[in-house]
Assembly symmetry: C2
Homo-oligomer: 212 residues x 2
């Protein structure tokens, strides 16, 4: 989960604070705070949960005691996002309003393990949001539910469905909440790579540095 | 023109030195040196030439005297690449050995002027070099000849032709020199975006941090 508060500007020096904590029996949580070093203004906060996986069975694996003992000396109970964001992200299907197909990882998208870098997932997700909406809105939060890795051989499609937000409502009929799904394309099982939810707000025009 | 000497490593602090100089009557040259701050070892050097263009006629335009006078106080005659690299880059055609078609700019590839960021050109160029070659070789220099801008509406194809290098020669038949062309696809004139040349050397296996 990522929450973006105001936006940083070119030339500002950013400070990143990060720490780990236990998450349930087998998980580890990592929190982040990004702030402007000079003013202390927080730009973004994020939290993520990691679990160990057995590479053969692809099931969640118990964390070995000695690993947990070693890590636990660094555990910090401070929590960056108090609210419960564990809402269910529904699984989209072929009826999704916006679909981008034939997304192929580039050589430069791969990390040292030959897996597609997670940043690319975010780019694919945002790519399917209509361009007109992207021009007028800025993202305010994002939840990613990672399902499986993606390699250079995979072809991906990105599904996207706008949803009326019951709390924020809509201005001029523009949606503020999107549900997303990245899937391996052509796979008989349509294996999920990532489910996601994004929340958006109208851009403040004063923050646009140049006219377009 | 970019020349890469050894490679930097994670965590190293890099120093970037850059300056401008006159280039002919209407041009400006900008040079860069990237070095490891601790050791002073130079990682990469680069130079580029810029000219002003009339947006309507799309012809090179004379630099106004007052602009030149203002800039000239910053001119520094130091030159990072002494040798003459102005070799002709031949224009590839449909017979090129490797072609990647249907390259579409993503929303995240656009800059504030809604033009495709130049970094994407480099990615498209490298994408067309065969994967097997990329795994064993590292780029040592690149010349880019910028022809025109590319916007989010354009679909691009990347052509690539390996060439025997007369000076370096070839080891095991692998080419060390590639010629590249990025073109607007479907355009009746096949408008050129960038012509490029890359030089490559065998990877030193000791620099790979993880086995794959």
């Amino acid at each position: 989960m990522l929450k973006i508060v105001p936006q940083g500007h070119r030339g500002e020096v950013i400070e990143i604070e990060t720490w780990i904590a236990a998450s349930g029996r087998n998980g580890i949580r990592r929190d982040w705070v990004l702030r402007d070093l000079a003013s202390g203004v927080v730009f973004a906060v994020a939290t993520s949960t990691l679990v160990a996986m057995n590479k053969q069975t692809r099931r969640v694996s118990k964390m070995p005691e000695e690993v947990r003992d070693e890590l636990s000396t660094f555990f910090c109970e401070k929590q960056v996002l108090k609210e419960n964001f564990k809402e269910r992200i529904e699984k989209l299907n072929d009826k999704a309003k916006y679909v981008t197909s034939d997304l192929k990882p580039m050589w430069s998208d791969l990390d040292v393990n030959y897996h597609v870098n997670n940043v690319k997932y975010v780019k694919w997700i945002l790519e399917t949001v209509p361009e007109g909406f992207l021009k007028d809105h800025q993202i305010s939060s994002m939840i990613l539910e990672y399902k499986r890795e993606c390699t250079s051989c995979d072809i991906v499609r990105s599904l996207c469905e706008p949803q009326e937000d019951e709390i924020l409502g809509c201005i001029n009929g523009a949606p503020f909440k999107y549900t997303h799904l990245l899937q391996i394309q052509g796979d008989t099982k349509n294996a999920d790579v990532v489910r996601a939810r994004t929340l958006w707000k109208l851009k403040k025009m004063s923050t646009v540095p140049f006219s377009t």
